[in-house]
Amino acid sequence: MTASPFSPEEVARIRADFPILARTVRDGAPLVYLDSGATSHKPVQVLDAERDFYERLNSAPHRGAHALSEEATAAYEGARERIAGFIGAAAQDVVFTKNATEALNLVAYAFSGSPHPGIPGSERFALGAGDEVLVTEMEHHANLVPWQELCRRTGATLRWIPVTDEGRLDLSDLDSLLTERTKVVAVVHASNVLGTLNPVDELVERAHAVDALVVLDACQSVPHLGVDVEALGVDFLAFSGHKMFGPSGIGVLWGRRELLEAMPPFLTGGSMIETVRMEASTYAPPPQRFEAGVPMTAQAIGLAAAVDYIDALGIERIHAHELALTERLLAGLAARPWVTVVGPTDLESRGGTVAFVVDDVHAHDVGQVLDGSGVAVRVGHHCAWPLHRRFKVAATTRASFAAYNTVGEVDALLDALDTVPEIFGDPRLRGAS
């Protein structure tokens, strides 16, 4: 049994930082929030940091010479440095976006049918018929649909790595999928459904051997594991702030410097330019080139505070705590023969996300029953519809953990789950037969 490094007292102290966890839902049931994979809650430290910015420094960064603007710029760029440091990156290689989805689209839109005449090196991002983009069958729509659209625009071909019954990438056919035609490999680091951690090392090695760029969707890893962009060896990495105790409305794209420099701009407008004439414009170096308009200033500062919060707890300890909860949940589900876990059933290469189905009961009905007891889980295809199709289910029920979750909450989920067969008839008998 994996033990959590957090004592119950420590978890209680953590919980006290999240006012929302004290509330009740429906008719007075205490909230059991097991949906941090969709979005996490925010500690007062993050809320205070945002508010403090608005009450003391608020101003448009990079847009003025007055004192407030200077202070806001320093705070904004300080936040960039802080967040970059958290993933082992240099500040100038970190671009702020509104969410991970924008970050992934930014990379996909860097590619087009022809190089940008104003950006030396942008030939690297020209795609056409005969070129291929490789994704996986377990991608979140955010790391799938932008590549479908890119292929539609350029005539390139989308290919994908299938998923095994155990919920792992099936690399057996990789040689024919990943070839010198492949220009991009876009893959999720930790699946937001299965919890699977993908073998980034192997994929990077194979991709780089054929000169393909690797785009890593790190939405479900950066909040829960220690992620270091250099150690990973990928070319781009995207994640969202709101899943890691940060505010809504901010995401991050990290890119290898020489690639960012060779990328055409995406959103254009104020502060991303070098010179503007009516006839044409030239563009600033990264990261400014990719941050058009007044940015998510307060949100960047809030996210930096979230990173401080995570660092104070220790990301390794958070991961271990979540794995301990995951283990308890997996054991509880295994003891219920009418429940089937979709994804790895042990802790090997796994994050704290557990998806499952209940025999003969639709995931939305399961979720609704749990919700009636105050247990908040996510139901549906979790923006990974092809993955669900592959497992021949329309929807799953998903529990996902954060530092503030407790053993008692896992038990509350299991207890509430036991009322499902009571309500919908007794699949236990069927399950046992």
Partner: protein
């Protein structure tokens, strides 16, 4: 849970008039994008204008208990009924489901539909209960029957 009335569970386990049958004038396929659930629905109408009668509603549905029960009730409450009456039933169902719990539904008009009254308190599930009805009104539209139908927009009535 108050949501899962016995009647709903019965309908969802033994959906009435399930399966796809002939003849039909229109067949539609509707998907609920939030969950991926689907319904294929066929409509067979006999007669024209005020004398039109819903002769058959047949369907193949995959979904949650709420959507399954709702389409089953739809079939039960419309097959063999004048089209105008079926539309009144639809309007009454929709009014109840989008009332946020204020309209308990009239059993005289919607029959077993009243069992779905609790759904109105769960905005995320209103779409489930309307999925079949939206397919029904869409099929009606496609069959060319010129009847004033409101709310064929599947987005309407959900937050």
């Amino acid at each position: 849970m108050d949501l899962y009335q016995e009647l709903i569970l019965e309908h969802s386990k033994r959906p009435q008039h399930a399966g796809l049958r002939e003849p039909f004038e229109a067949e539609v396929h509707h998907v609920n994008p939030t969950c991926g659930d689907e319904v294929t629905l066929r409509l067979h109408i006999v007669g024209e204008g005020p004398t039109a009668v819903v002769e058959d509603v047949s369907y193949d549905a995959l979904g949650c208990s709420i959507s399954m029960a709702s389409v089953s009730i739809l079939a039960e409450e419309t097959i063999g009924h004048p089209l105008s009456e079926a539309l009144t039933t639809f309007e009454a169902m929709k009014a109840m489901l989008t009332s946020k719990g204020e309209d308990p539904g009239d059993e005289e008009v919607i029959g077993d539909g009243v069992a779905l009254a609790g759904v109105a308190r769960y905005p995320a599930r209103v779409k489930c209960a309307l999925l079949g009805w939206m397919a029904f009104t869409d099929a009606l539209h496609q069959s060319g029957h010129r009847v004033a139908v409101t709310g064929t927009d599947p987005e309407e009535g959900t937050p």
